[in-house]
């Protein structure tokens, strides 16, 4: 049992990175990781030794993410309003991000959750198509098309941002 827990502990940095790419906001991402870890511990018995802890944990987290994405429809616009007490008092939220990172993180948040997850899984987390398709629970062809469309959307969003930036410069 302790071996399993040690393996889970070792995966936390990766889980945090994946959550951050899905949700952007650091606290929200860590909340997702927390939910994932809690669920994982409840299901510790169901985790087959031999199965990669990473794949097991990513699968749990992805299910949590997608389930919630489907539930939030009605409360919709919630976080579009930056309304934490700290933010309301004008404390800059993201300190460590440079402008280029911010742009690509913004763009990533703007693509659909399914495509975002597929793209991140392969491009950042380094899973193979077969592994990613397995974690996301979709056929390989679906995964492929999500990755391709995700990349295309990301590119066009980044281009839009760059265009707006250059217009602003021209207007000055």
């Amino acid at each position: 049992m302790d071996e399993k827990k040690a393996a889970i502990l070792g995966e936390i940095p990766r889980l945090r990175r994946y959550a951050r790419s899905l949700l952007r906001d650091r606290d929200s991402a860590d909340d997702l990781v927390q939910d994932c870890l809690e669920r994982a511990l409840l299901r510790l018995e169901g985790w087959q030794t031999g199965e990669s802890p990473r794949r097991w944990l990513f699968t749990i987290m992805h299910h949590l993410f997608i389930d919630q994405m489907r539930k939030v429809n009605r409360r919709g616009e919630a976080a579009i309003l930056p309304l934490d007490a700290n933010e309301a008092q004008a404390v800059p939220a993201e300190q460590a991000e440079n402008a280029a990172s911010r742009e690509i993180i913004d763009a990533l948040q703007a693509i659909s959750p399914d495509r975002r997850a597929a793209l991140v899984m392969v491009a950042i987390e380094g899973f193979s198509y077969a592994e990613a398709a397995n974690i996301l629970g979709v056929p390989a062809g679906t995964l492929m098309s999500r990755i391709a469309r995700g990349r295309e959307e990301l590119r066009s969003l980044l281009d839009d941002t760059a265009r707006r930036r250059s217009i602003r410069i021209v207007e000055k």
Partner: protein
């Protein structure tokens, strides 16, 4: 060398290391002969590098103690009792998708809620707004001309240090306030009006143990509530303004309310 037709799809396969080894040479020859595809491949490669760079720092961050405690079984958190807030960020993403990319979620109806505290607050705030904002002579119990008394009285009754936010910069003047029931406790309602006679209300209660924030509309086309719940207080701003304007007003009101509570 394998002969087959390559397409844009293969750019992704190549980039992701999924291209069979025996097709690599033919692929390289194909892409060298297609400047457009070559540019695309270079662009995707660059975007991927930027994505990796943007998130690389996360792996070096110290792992929050709470997360380690959970795994070690040291944390006393109860799964069911804890409020998860990460869906808020998920909601933001969903909105961007609906707004920007052709309604990815358009076909999915609102599914059941996990918890009712925020809905209840929003519904009470909207109900109060619908009733009292429509009143001309009896909209408030204590008028803005008696603001000091209004603040002291409502603070004592509700059990919070309540400061009526100054929303003049957003075009809204305080009309006054009243005391209302809310859940098991009491709520303060502050009513504001702009030059055109449009009204918004702030609904504040100390009766909250949940932590949440969001927007809520009871009926399509009806007033909308922007709400926050935190431990020890909850607040909703209600009005029929365009969403961006309501959000701006709400943000200003919230900043002052929180500052007032802490003063």
């Amino acid at each position: 060398m394998t002969r087959r037709d390559f397409s844009e799809r293969d750019i992704h396969l190549a980039l992701d290391g999924e291209l069979p080894g025996d097709e690599r040479a033919a692929y390289d020859a194909w892409i060298d002969a297609n400047p457009e595809m070559k540019a695309k491949s270079a662009r995707y490669t660059a975007d991927r590098a930027a994505l990796r760079a943007a998130f690389a720092g996360v792996l070096d961050e110290p792992v929050p103690v709470l997360l380690k405690q959970i795994v070690r079984g040291e944390g006393a958190t109860k799964v069911a009792a804890r409020q998860s807030r990460w869906w808020l960020a998920a909601a933001a993403a969903a909105v961007l998708v609906v707004g920007g990319l052709g309604g990815y979620f358009a076909g999915i109806d609102g599914i059941g809620r996990d918890d009712g505290a925020d809905d209840q607050l929003a519904e009470e705030a909207i109900a109060a707004h619908v009733i009292y904002a429509a009143e001309q002579r009896h909209a408030v119990e204590v008028p803005a001309s008696d603001k000091d008394h209004l603040q002291t009285w409502l603070s004592n009754r509700v059990g919070l240090k309540l400061v009526a936010p100054d929303l003049v910069a957003e075009g809204f003047q305080l009309v006054g306030g009243r005391l209302l029931p809310a859940g098991q406790g009491k709520a303060a309602m502050l009513l504001y009006e702009d030059a055109k006679g449009q009204r918004i209300s702030l609904f504040v209660t100390a009766d909250s143990s949940a932590k949440s924030k969001g927007t809520y509309t009871a009926d399509a086309g009806g007033p909308e509530a922007v709400y926050w719940l935190d431990k020890g207080y909850a607040c909703a701003v209600v009005g029929s303004l365009p969403r961006e304007q309501l959000a701006a007003v709400a943000k200003r009101a919230y900043g002052q309310l929180v500052a007032g509570l802490a003063s």
